[in-house]
């Protein structure tokens, strides 16, 4: 737990000190929401559906930006190798990085959510806890799988491209579930018709965290 929290705090500290990165992330996310709202509007056919798709598409691409930055922090001056040299438990290192990524993407979600609500005129306080619950489920899986894939992309020249190309199809069930449940909440005010997707998202979360327990050390130690 000490290792996990130390790694999380270190990553967040580095993110917070990099104002340019945080500004880029925020502007990128907001721009995506704006562009998609203009593309779908001004008269929306199915605002709940279009808003859900916009929310999760923006989060995916902004998340890739965050994951790539987290990866850069480890590789730009060999910090990742120094982490390995401490002899700390690799899974605790993974969980620490996953938690930092989760917090970063969640902060981005909290920025995007009101923008989507305003631009598409969807959502209300009654369904807000449900939307936050869906986000929590989806973002844990995204952070876990994203951290694992980011470690795989380490050292590759076109890692941003690889991360997007490999990560998105791998997480298709997660995106579909998140979009469907958000759509149901914003459209019908209830998650009941698509409740089964909760299980899919939970399985994706557990699978991502469990796979990393076996693979993260192997990936970290795989060298040229």
């Amino acid at each position: 737990m000490k290792t996990l929290l130390a790694v999380t705090m270190k990553d967040l500290r580095l993110h917070v000190r990099d104002a340019r990165f945080l500004a880029t992330l925020a502007l990128f996310s907001a721009s995506l929401v704006l562009i998609l709202s203009v593309a779908f509007g001004p008269i929306f056919n199915d605002p709940a559906r279009e808003a859900s798709a916009t929310l999760w598409a923006a989060l995916f691409f902004a998340g890739v930006l965050g994951l790539t930055r987290a990866l850069d922090l480890e590789s730009e001056s060999g910090g990742g190798d120094a982490l390995r040299l401490t002899g700390a438990d690799p899974y605790a290192l993974f969980l620490g990085k996953t938690l930092a990524n989760l917090i970063l993407i969640s902060a981005d979600f909290l920025l995007i959510l009101p923008l989507v609500s305003i631009f598409f005129d969807v959502g209300n306080l009654v369904v807000l806890p449900g939307v936050l619950g869906v986000a929590a489920l989806a973002l844990v899986g995204y952070a876990a799988w994203g951290t694992l894939f980011a470690a795989l992309a380490k050292g590759l020249r076109a890692r941003e491209l690889l991360l997007s190309v490999v990560l998105f199809p791998s997480l298709v069930p997660l995106w579909i579930g998140a979009v469907k449940m958000t759509n149901a909440l914003w459209g019908d005010g209830s998650i009941d018709p698509v409740r089964d997707w909760i299980k899919v998202l939970a399985v994706m979360d557990v699978l991502g965290l469990a796979l990393a327990a076996f693979l993260y050390e192997l990936i970290q130690e795989a060298t040229e």
């Binding site: 290792t3 270190k10 000190r17 910090g79 120094a82 390995r84 040299l85 401490t86 040229e224």
Partner: protein
């Protein structure tokens, strides 16, 4: 503690960098490793530090393969590379406390300050590392290598960017390590700086380690 590498082979794509390389770093020794650029010194050092795996051959610490007790080996080996192996957005104190905590150092912040004072970097303990000159960075790199009070010290180009006082600090660290029974390997293109301290001088040639003339 004895760190030994035998029959080490390593290739990158088609280029063979190490062929049957062997080296031993024993307690209280200071081994100087020389060689031209691209001769494989850094590759061998990275393999000894457990950062890189060999295609063939064995690296052992006190007779046990390091791959079998990687975590303990990493805490017993202090490695200062020519890459900083630090987070540039953190201060020296934050970097050293963070790495020390992860490596199981009892009071990481106290140990970090102790090392920064010893290496003449205490006044800069809370300044961001990214603003440091090469020489200042080099001292922090050395401090990170010493965090766990290692039994084996691997220094790859430790004199790069250092002024005379910095060179004296590195040599003092090596002298102290020798007295405490720590075995050291020093890779450098400035052998005259460390030759008086060295107990053995080796040279990398054709991917092998040979006794220097």
């Amino acid at each position: 503690m004895i760190l030994r590498a035998e029959g080490i082979q390593k290739r990158f794509d088609t280029r063979v960098v190490l062929r049957d390389a062997a080296i031993e770093i024993g307690p209280g020794s200071i081994t100087l490793l020389l060689g031209t650029n691209g001769s494989g010194k850094t590759t061998l050092c990275n393999i000894l530090a457990t950062l890189l795996s060999a295609d063939r051959g064995a690296v052992t610490l006190d007779g046990e393969p390091v791959a079998r007790k990687r975590s303990a080996a990493r805490r017993a080996i202090g490695f200062a590379s020519h890459r900083p192996l630090l987070y540039l957005g953190l201060t020296p104190l934050e970097n050293l406390s963070f790495f020390g905590g992860l490596a199981g150092v009892a009071s990481p912040e106290r140990r970090a300050m102790e090392l920064l004072e010893r290496l003449g970097m205490a006044p800069f303990a809370r300044a961001p590392v990214e603003r440091f000159s090469r020489g200042m960075l080099q001292r922090i790199v050395l401090a990170r290598a010493l965090l766990t009070d290692p039994k084996i010290l691997l220094l790859d180009e430790p004199y790069t960017g250092l002024d005379e006082s910095g060179v004296a600090v590195v040599n003092e660290v090596l002298r102290d390590a020798r007295e405490r029974g720590t075995g050291s390997l020093v890779i450098t293109h400035e052998p005259e700086r460390v030759r008086p301290l060295a107990t053995r001088v080796l040279r990398m040639q054709g991917g092998r380690v040979e006794e220097a003339a």
